[in-house]
Chain length 366, copies 2
Amino acid sequence: MTSLSQRKKEILRTVVELFVKGAEPVGSKAVAEALGSSVSSATIRSEMAELESMGLLEQPHTSAGRIPSSNGYRIYVNDLMQDQNISSDDAKVIDSTLDGHLTETPSLLDKVGSLTSRLTTYPAYAMSSMTGVISIVRFDLIYVDSSTFIIVVLLSNDTVKNKLVHLTTNVEQTMLTRLSAVLNASFTGIPEERITPALITSSERAIGDNTGLVAVVAGFTIELLIEAKTVGTRVSGAINLLSHPEYRDVDKAQRIIRYLSDEKELARLPSPETPGEIKITIGPENLADELRDSSVMAIKYDTGSDLQGLIGVVGPTRMDYSKVAAHLSYMAQGLSWLLGGPGSEVMQLKASSKVNKTGDDRVGEE
Amino acid sequence: MTSLSQRKKEILRTVVELFVKGAEPVGSKAVAEALGSSVSSATIRSEMAELESMGLLEQPHTSAGRIPSSNGYRIYVNDLMQDQNISSDDAKVIDSTLDGHLTETPSLLDKVGSLTSRLTTYPAYAMSSMTGVISIVRFDLIYVDSSTFIIVVLLSNDTVKNKLVHLTTNVEQTMLTRLSAVLNASFTGIPEERITPALITSSERAIGDNTGLVAVVAGFTIELLIEAKTVGTRVSGAINLLSHPEYRDVDKAQRIIRYLSDEKELARLPSPETPGEIKITIGPENLADELRDSSVMAIKYDTGSDLQGLIGVVGPTRMDYSKVAAHLSYMAQGLSWLLGGPGSEVMQLKASSKVNKTGDDRVGEE
DNA sequence: TTTAGCACTCAGAGAGTGAGAGTGCTAATG
DNA sequence: CATTAGCACTCTCACTCTCTGAGTGCTAAA
């Protein structure tokens, strides 16, 4: 790719920015004005004609202005886009939302997604997934009454799961104590796939259980291990698509929204390599047909433990890349801080924030 | 209201049904054909004119056919609508979905909502809320290591909540034992609003704690009580609105979808009195302006414990009331059964189903 | 009471028109 | 040689007008 003259760069940048703002093809006169009339529209015109022949601009029809091609956007995003800070209002909103009651991952994803969507005006998705293998660190069985007990399991990713079990038969405190000793001996430290019927049977023998209690606990355990690994995904503000003129066509909007509500498809969306990095795919760079004339921006954030989160935004290729980038960065930074990514160390107790139902939390007292 | 002749009833019913199907004003000829040509279109014409003067039909414009007025729909729904069974395919889908891994309330609401929406082709909402006051039944503090412990709380609505706490200071097993004794003595059985700073201070004195441990535990407790009471709401398939011609106008669709994403508004939607009953509000019967030309159908289901669930559907007044009613009934029945409503008694253990992360579960062994 | 016939109404599709925006080209200018 | 003003040209969009067809209400006959 031959490099562009400074003036061509400015013109390309101007065209992108005006088009992002106005959603209408940009004419030479508008560009000339935006550039402060240092050159006339005729000059711009010939420059734009060259940019078009280089494949960076295109013309919807002869008598219209120019719009950026996807290559044009690509160059804009790589070289011409200027870093932007989010407004202090938006920062406040993000801060206060993150600072609120983030009691569990699904609801956190929800909030992050819907906030991102609201602030960017594009549909957003948020997902978090396990990296690494989960095993059980310890079991506890809490005796409630003769027909009721609670299973509490601490997992290797520092989350705790529990379940209340009502029996139609009776249990005794001593039985539970014995059972939990056996479980702690044989079920902890091993990955999920090694909790087999054979293991369960042998545990049952070890404890002399013929009531199926071990099976109940084991069944629950397997299920929650699967659940703990499961990727949580939320899509928010899909409806925002409709506000953008490129999706006025209801069918088109519907196709994309349906696409977004398919978790499997979402998981396949491009994802940045490292936390903090923003991955942008523009128009035809997207593999999915549905996104051929849309763009996707995504950022990763680190949550300490073994969880890794992703926030993404889907919009028209005319999306406001620089604004969205600023929002994503700010949001991801806040999340990494909140959830204790690598840089965050032990956190201070802050009234009623950072409490986490099933998750990890660090609390300090002076 | 003067009662209608049998023929007028048939005509009204036909108009509603044809209009529901075709989304276009229904002319006298179409009605005559649908009625098997037992009378001519001219006769139908004069009947329809009378139905119009009675306020049950209306004419969008002079040269168009008739559409039902909201009063017309009301009569249809009250008197003329015939019970319908859902297709066996749909029944299968519902059964298998409900039968799957319903591990927690939010995800259950999610599934129920999106399934309802998919089958009915209208946006659906599902919510569940607490009835009654929640208090704490018991505390357990599980010692993990010198800087880590788990808080486990059993609530009066038979749910269990937990949290993993990392400290920057050390704790000992004995301290936790003492603490849990004090907490069980002073915090259990009382409603949330009585957990005051004074109570916390006095507990701290009782135990000789100056590390803030009690405050941490109390803070968490208050938070989770609030959380446990919180109404969970999910809206699914909002995008389905766009498939119906009355919402081709993007702005209109957007207004309604925004309305639906406001939990507070949803909570205000009409709700049936008793489980199993379906509440229908048609067009202007809705208090909310946004729903003035839409209809809402909702059904309650019972979940045993103190939870009560609601499934609702929003659509055009031209909605297929009878089909939606069938779906809602089937769904609600399945849920009541699954979640152990009044009629379900203790359930049998079924491999890996009905496991419930934070909730209640009944397990039986022979 | 029902029906056939007929004049009437009106929305919506299609064709035609004019205005306006923007272009590319050419010739003049510094 | 780069830049600019001028100009003819192109094409979309909004608007108007016309025509068609569906459906009606009324009237008179069965």
